[in-house]
C-alpha cells in the first residue's frame, strides 16, 4: 500500500509538471500580447514598455520558464496581469464558490442517478426502464447553456420563483443579516443552477449505474442470494447495488473534479462567481498568470480526485490490495 501510494504521488507530480509546462509554453507562443489590455489612449511608448517589463515579458522564454517553475514550487502563481492581485488568492476565492455549487450538484445528481439506475436495472425491459434511459440520455446530451437559459427564462423570468443569477442578494447582505437569513438567501440562489446541473448530470450516473447494475445482476452471487431466499430489497441493495457501486465510486470522484472544470458554461449563464467563469474572462484578457494558475489548480484537483478514487476503491473492494 505504502509503495503504491508513493508511486502514485510521483506519477501525479510528473503529470502535473508536464501539464503546467505545456500550459506555460502555450502561452508564450501565442500570437497575442497581454499588455494590449492595459493600453489606454494617451499612453506613451515608454509607458507601454514599462508595462511589458512589469510583467516580465521582455525576458527570454527560458528565463521566464525557470522563474515560473521556481515560483511554482514556492506556491507562488504570480500576480494577475489584469488586477495585480496574487493569483492564488483569486483562485481560492473563486474555487470555493465553484466547489460549493458543483459538489452539491454532483452529490445530488449522483444520488438521484443511482437510485433510479438501480430501480430500472432491476426492472429490466420494462417501459419505465426505456423511459428513464431515454430521458437520461436526452438530458445528458442537452446543450448546457441552452437548458440553463430555458430554466432561467421559465423559473426566474416568467414565474419569478428564483433570482436571475448571482450568488447572493446584495441588498440583504448589506444590512448584516443573521446567519440563517444568509444561508436562506444563498440557498435561494443556489437552487436554479443546482437544478440545471442535476437535470443535466443525473442521466450519466443513471446510465452508468444501470449498466453496472445489469452486469452485476448477471453475477453468480446474485443467484446465490436469491437461492438463499433473501428478500428482494436485500438482494437489490445489499448484494447487487453494493457491487455495482464499485465502478461508480471511481466515476464519482472523477466527476467532482470534472464538474469543477465543466462549470464554465453554467457559471456563465447563472452569473456564478466561480473558477469556470474566471478562466473564460482571464483567457479573453490574456491574463496568463491567472489562467495558468487556474488551470494548474484544476489539474491538481482532477489528479487528486483520481487518486482519492483509487484509494476509496481499494477500501470498498476487499479484493484490491496495493
Amino acid at each position: 500500500m505504502g509503495k503504491y501510494i508513493i508511486g502514485r504521488i510521483v506519477q501525479i507530480i510528473i503529470t502535473f509538471f508536464i501539464v503546467i509546462s505545456i500550459i506555460f509554453l502555450m502561452f508564450r507562443v501565442m500570437p497575442s500580447d497581454p499588455s494590449s489590455f492595459l493600453l489606454t489612449p494617451s499612453m506613451t511608448a515608454e509607458a507601454k514598455q514599462t508595462i511589458r517589463k512589469q510583467f516580465g515579458l521582455d525576458e527570454p522564454i527560458a528565463v521566464q520558464y525557470v522563474i515560473y517553475l521556481k515560483n511554482f514550487i514556492h506556491g507562488d502563481f504570480g500576480n494577475s496581469f489584469y488586477s495585480g492581485r496574487p493569483v492564488m488568492s483569486i483562485i481560492m476565492e473563486k474555487m470555493l464558490n465553484t466547489i460549493f455549487l458543483s459538489t452539491t450538484a454532483v452529490i445530488l445528481s449522483y444520488l438521484i442517478g443511482i437510485f433510479i439506475g438501480k430501480a430500472i436495472a432491476w426492472k429490466r425491459g420494462s417501459k419505465a426502464e426505456k423511459f428513464f434511459v431515454i430521458l437520461g440520455l436526452w438530458f445528458y446530451t442537452t446543450f448546457t447553456p441552452w437548458l440553463g437559459i430555458m430554466f432561467l427564462w421559465i423559473f426566474a423570468f416568467k414565474l419569478k420563483w428564483f433570482p436571475l443569477g448571482g450568488m447572493i442578494t446584495p441588498e440583504k447582505w448589506i444590512f448584516d443579516p443573521s446567519l440563517f437569513e444568509k444561508i436562506c438567501d444563498l440557498g435561494h440562489h443556489l437552487i436554479l443552477p443546482l437544478i440545471t446541473y442535476v437535470v443535466l448530470w443525473f442521466g450519466s450516473y443513471l446510465l452508468l449505474m444501470r449498466n453496472s447494475m445489469l452486469e452485476t445482476l448477471k453475477e453468480d452471487y446474485i443467484l446465490t442470494a436469491r437461492a438463499k431466499g433473501l428478500k428482494e430489497k436485500v438482494i437489490k441493495n445489499r448484494h447487487a447495488a453494493r457491487n455495482a457501486m464499485l465502478p461508480i465510486v471511481t466515476a464519482f470522484a472523477i466527476s467532482i473534479s470534472f464538474s469543477i472544470a465543466g462549470a464554465v458554461l453554467i457559471e456563465t449563464i447563472f452569473s456564478w462567481p466561480g473558477i469556470g467563469r474566471t478562466i473564460v474572462e482571464a483567457t479573453l484578457r490574456q491574463d496568463y498568470p491567472l489562467v495558468q494558475g487556474a488551470f494548474a489548480v484544476i489539474t491538481m484537483v482532477v489528479l487528486l480526485a483520481n487518486f482519492a478514487a483509487d484509494i476509496a476503491y481499494s477500501y470498498l473492494d476487499p479484493r484490491i490490495t496495493y
Binding site: 501539464v19 440520455l137 446530451t141 446543450f143 452486469e215 465543466g262 464554465v264 483567457t283
Partner: protein, 302 residues
C-alpha cells in the same frame, strides 16, 4: 469495459457490418437515433438549395432582408424569423446543421481512428510504447477539455473550424485508445492470435487482419459517442465566443442571440439552435447506446 468480450468467429458467414446492421434493426434506440439523424442530414442537404432561392436574402453570413426592420418572428418568407439585422434564421439553422455534421463526423473519425490504432499498437506491442502512449493518454484525460479548448482557442488568437477540429481530435482519442488497448490485451492471449504468431505472420498483419476486426465493434461504439462530444464541445466553445466567426454553427447562432441581447426576447431565435444541438447529439448517443447493448454482451438480456 474490459468485459467487452465480443469476439467473432472467423467462420461466421455474415460480414461484421452486416451483423451489426441486422442487430441494429432490432434496437429501438438505434432506430430512433437514425431517424433523428436523417432529419438533420436532410437539413444539411437543404441548406445550399435554400440559399439559392435568393442568395441576397438567404445567405447565412451576408444575406440581409432590407425590408425587415429589427428582429421579427416567423413568417412565410422567413420560416424562423430574422435576426436583428434582417438575416434569415432558417438559413443559419440549415448551415449550422452542415457545420455540426461535418465537424462532428470528422472529429470522431479522426479521433477514433487515432485511438483505435494507438490502442491496438500499445496493447499488442506492450512494453515501452505501451507505457508511453498510455501515460500520454492519462495526461490528456487529466486535463479538463472545455477549459483547455478555451485556452488553446485564446492562444490561436483567431479561430477556424479546422483548428477546433484538430484540437478536438487530439483530445478525444485517449478514451477510445484505453478501451481498445484493454481489449487488445485480452485478445492477444487468445489461441487464434497465438497460432497466427506461431505460423509466422508479421505483426502488422496480425494487427490488421486478426486484431482489428475484433475490436471494430467497440470502435464503432466510440465513433458515434465521440460525435456527440464533438458537437457539444464545439457548441459550448462557440457559445462562449471561441468559435469560428466566419461560419454559422448552432453555437454561433446562440452566441449572436446572446451578444445582441435577444435571449429572453426572441424565442424563435434562441430555441431552435439549442434544440438542434441537443437533438443531434442525442441521436448519435442513442445510436451509441444501442450499439453498446449489442457489442457488450453483459448488457444483453439473457
Amino acid at each position: 469495459m474490459e468485459t467487452l468480450n465480443y469476439t467473432l468467429d472467423k467462420t461466421e458467414k455474415k460480414s461484421l457490418i452486416r451483423q451489426i446492421w441486422d442487430l441494429a434493426g432490432r434496437s429501438t434506440f438505434i432506430k430512433l437515433g437514425v431517424f433523428i439523424m436523417l432529419i438533420f442530414g436532410g437539413m444539411a442537404v437543404l441548406s445550399p438549395i435554400w440559399i439559392q432561392i435568393n442568395p441576397a436574402i438567404y445567405d447565412p453570413i451576408i444575406g440581409v432582408d432590407l425590408s425587415v426592420n429589427g428582429s421579427v418572428g416567423p413568417s412565410f418568407k422567413h420560416p424562423l424569423g430574422t435576426d436583428d439585422i434582417g438575416k434569415d434564421l432558417f438559413s443559419q439553422l440549415l448551415r449550422g446543421s452542415q457545420v455540426a455534421f461535418i465537424l462532428g463526423i470528422m472529429v470522431s473519425l479522426i479521433s477514433t481512428t487515432l485511438g483505435t490504432t494507438i490502442g491496438l499498437f500499445a496493447g499488442y506491442y506492450g512494453k515501452i510504447s505501451d507505457t508511453l502512449l498510455m501515460r500520454l493518454a492519462d495526461i490528456i484525460l487529466t486535463v479538463p477539455i472545455l477549459p483547455l479548448l478555451i485556452v488553446i482557442s485564446g492562444i490561436f488568437g483567431t479561430q477556424s473550424n479546422w483548428i477546433i477540429l484538430l484540437i478536438l481530435s487530439f483530445t478525444f482519442w485517449p478514451v477510445t485508445a484505453r478501451v481498445i488497448r484493454a481489449q487488445t490485451l485480452s485478445l492477444r492471449e487468445r489461441p487464434f492470435i497465438e497460432s497466427a504468431k506461431v505460423s509466422g505472420i508479421s505483426n502488422t498483419r496480425i494487427i490488421v487482419k486478426h486484431l482489428a476486426p475484433n475490436v471494430l465493434p467497440i470502435a464503432f461504439y466510440y465513433l458515434t459517442v465521440t460525435v456527440t462530444g464533438a458537437i457539444l464541445v464545439e457548441a459550448g466553445l462557440s457559445f462562449l465566443g471561441f468559435g469560428d466567426p466566419s461560419n454559422m454553427s448552432w453555437g454561433m447562432m446562440l452566441q449572436w442571440c446572446f451578444v445582441k441581447g435577444y435571449v429572453f426576447k426572441a424565442p424563435y431565435w434562441m430555441i431552435p439552435p439549442g434544440l438542434c444541438i441537443s437533438l443531434l447529439s442525442f441521436s448519435f448517443y442513442l445510436i451509441g447506446v444501442g450499439l453498446e447493448e449489442i457489442v457488450n454482451p453483459r448488457l444483453k438480456k439473457r
